[in-house]
């Protein structure tokens, strides 16, 4: 599904990713953990194609395609979804219109028919209900006046509607209370299929209690310094990052 080889990237000439190697097979959930500043969010942005991040080396293939050559919208159409750590507010853009425009853009790019307004609304309403959204969230402007938790849930709603093959969740758990955390995790679990993979970026183990990963990778200073099974997340929670990072050095 996703193959990252020797990926290097920098922001304003400052190297952040220094050779990442990662293989994420279809159907699996991998977690990326690591201390602040280790490059976790940069990895998410580079995968989604933010041009504020310069790729200085390495390769990324997604479903056999060279991901790094694709525009952000082409990556989305190919089935990649980045749940933003800080979802953007879009004043003046209605949430339902935004979702429908995005879904239809993706469907067009995939050669599928566009959804008309009534069919879309049925889909959006049933997905929001499943994610326990208040009804008015579809009518409001995108993320404007949303609480931190509502913004994160709105990301999960977008994901549920766009049905990606690969979800990159960038600290989707931060700022969520326990109930919201479970809703978000359930939303992702609902998408789990043999052809769906997720890369879950987080600093805490608690999301991983609900969203059990197949593999856990520890990122430090732009490199993966250790990989292991789900027990690695519990070890990190118990001992902190410093021991793991020091052992690897």
């Amino acid at each position: 599904m996703l193959r990252i080889h020797a990926l290097c990237a920098s922001v304003e000439e400052k190297p952040i990713l220094r050779g990442i190697d990662l293989e994420l097979p279809a159907g699996q959930v991998h977690a990326i953990m690591g201390p602040n500043g280790s490059g976790k969010s940069t990895l998410g942005y580079v995968l989604a194609g933010n041009d504020g991040y310069a790729v200085t080396g390495g390769e990324v293939t997604f479903d056999g395609q060279n991901l790094l050559e694709m525009e952000p919208e082409e990556r989305a159409a190919a089935g990649l979804f980045l749940a933003f750590q800080a979802p953007l507010e879009l004043p003046g853009v209605n949430n339902a219109n935004f979702l429908r425009t995005a879904l239809n853009a993706v469907r067009r790019a995939r050669g599928e028919d566009e959804l008309d307004a009534p069919s879309f609304l049925r889909l959006a309403r049933s997905e929001s209900k499943r994610l326990q959204f208040p009804d008015d969230m579809l009518k409001r402007n995108v993320n404007v006046g949303f609480s931190g938790g509502e913004k994160k849930r709105n990301e999960v709603l977008q994901m549920a509607i766009l049905r990606p093959k690969l979800a990159v969740l960038d600290e989707t758990d931060s700022g969520l209370d326990i109930d919201a955390l479970r809703v978000v995790a359930d939303g992702v679990n609902a998408l789990r299929r043999p052809e769906f993979s997720a890369l879950v970026i987080t600093h805490h183990q608690r999301l991983l209690d609900h969203l059990v990963p197949d593999r856990v990778h520890v990122l430090s200073k732009g490199r993966i310094v250790r990989s292991g099974g789900p027990e690695l997340a519990r070890e990190l929670e118990a001992n902190g990052y410093s021991q793991v990072v020091a052992d690897a050095a």
């Binding site: 919208e73 989305a76 003046g92 935004f98 853009a105 993706v106």
Partner: protein, 425 residues
């Protein structure tokens, strides 16, 4: 003075000489205005108030009077569902109009009232005072809610340039309420040089929404004077889409405590269009609030101007003034000029102003693209959102929807409106 602009003034003065005996109202007022106009001529960019707006193109045209009779019913096009007062080439058309019962209507032609608009130092007002032959006067009696009325102005294609200078008055007695939705449309080359005097009585509320979608060859000059008494509200919005050259100038005076004025607007310009919004808000009483948010979306070689002055008199303590001008430049050849001015003589006031000029927000653009929306479409969504925000504060739903439709129609006339934005100082 620039000889071209001088020549334009002389042409108007010559036409006045030919017409003056037939014009309604006090001949002495006309003569004084003509003398003032003769002295100043048309404004030039050397006049501080006209620094960013040149009337050279207007001065080069010799305007005639429109025909007195309208042969065929003009295309009125839809506005919104409300009683409608129609003017064609600046003249009231009773046969095409419906006047709500709660409004007393008279015309300038029948009952010429010049009011108190200053002719000296305001050449376009002097020109109006000199030439005005019709206009609409609306009065709403004390405590009456007169609902909504549409004022529709149509400029006909006369196959020669014509000028009309309507003189309007709106008077709301204490506690009265009215929403005026003004729509200006037309075809061909003309000058629409209106003066509007507005009196909002104690506790009265006037909402004034304007849609300017004049002919692309037209010159649209509007000078408004609003006086707002104690606890009164004047809530104005102007959307500039049409005309080659437009200037909407509003002078609002808060004369009693707890009065409020909103002068909001948006300009969406392309081609060689020039749109100027100039406001002067005078706080002459304590505890008053004024709000101004102006948004500009400028493409091609268009130019937007916002000049906003807030004057706070010594007595106007606890004034709350806010002014914001925002511009999106969608082309490297588009230009915005912004001149905020605060003149504050009271010591306990809250006044702020700001301006932003730039391109679309890169993070928002990435967010949309990351959801699969192609870049051009994402840009278009953000530009529309920028304008939608400007329209949000319009309380009258029908009027807001009419403006939203006008904006959509403006986009539909263009292919891809949003290419290569850039930053500007």
């Amino acid at each position: 003075m620039n000889s071209e602009v001088r020549g334009g003034a002389d042409a108007f003065l010559a036409r006045f000489e030919g017409l003056r005996d037939r014009l309604p109202g006090d001949a002495a007022v006309r003569a004084a205005a003509a003398a003032a106009f003769k002295q100043t001529g048309l404004p030039t960019v050397r006049d501080e108030a006209w620094r960013y707006t040149s009337l050279r193109g207007l001065a080069a045209i010799s305007f005639e009077e429109p025909l007195t009779a309208v042969d065929s019913a003009p295309n009125l096009a839809p506005t919104l569902d409300a009683p409608r007062i129609v003017m064609v080439d600046g003249r009231y058309q009773p046969a095409l109009s419906t006047v709500p019962e709660a409004i007393t209507l008279s015309t300038f032609a029948d009952e010429p009232v010049f009011g108190r608009a200053p002719d000296s130092k305001m050449p376009m007002v002097a020109l109006n005072t000199m030439m005005a032959d019709d206009g609409i006067r609306l009065r709403v009696a004390e405590g009456v809610d007169a609902g909504t009325v549409v004022m529709l102005s149509i400029g006909l294609d006369n196959h020669r340039p014509v000028a009309f200078h309507p003189r309007h008055r709106v008077e709301l007695e204490p506690g009265a309420r009215l929403t005026i939705v003004e729509v200006a449309r037309g075809e061909g080359t003309y000058l629409h040089n209106a003066v509007q005097e507005i009196v909002v009585g104690r506790g009265a509320t006037l909402a004034h929404v304007r849609l300017q979608e004049e002919s692309i060859d037209a010159f649209h000059m509007q000078t408004g004077f609003a006086e707002v008494a104690e606890s009164g509200t004047y809530d104005a919005f102007v959307l500039t889409l049409g005309s080659k050259l437009a200037r909407t100038e509003i002078h609002a005076r808060l004369t009693g405590p707890n009065a409020a004025v909103h002068l909001n607007g948006a300009q969406l310009l392309g081609g060689d269009q020039h749109g100027d919004i100039t406001t002067v808000v005078a706080h002459d009483a304590p505890n008053c609030a004024s709000r101004q948010t102006i948004k500009n979306v400028l493409s091609d070689r268009s130019r937007g101007v916002f000049q906003g002055r807030i004057e706070v008199a010594r007595v106007a303590q606890k004034t709350d003034g806010y002014q914001m001008n925002q511009a999106l430049l969608l082309s490297p050849h588009a230009e915005i000029d912004c001149k905020p001015q605060l003149e504050i003589y009271a010591d306990d006031v809250k006044c702020s102003h700001g301006a932003t000029v730039g391109e679309l927000n890169a993070d928002q653009l990435f967010y949309l693209r990351a959801r699969g929306i192609p870049e051009e479409q994402a840009r278009s969504i953000l530009v529309r959102a920028f304008l939608a925000e400007a329209l949000d504060p319009i309380a009258h739903e029908g009027a807001r929807e009419m403006l939203e439709r006008a904006v959509e129609a403006w986009w539909a006339k263009r292919d891809t409106p949003t290419s290569s934005p850039r930053k500007e100082s």
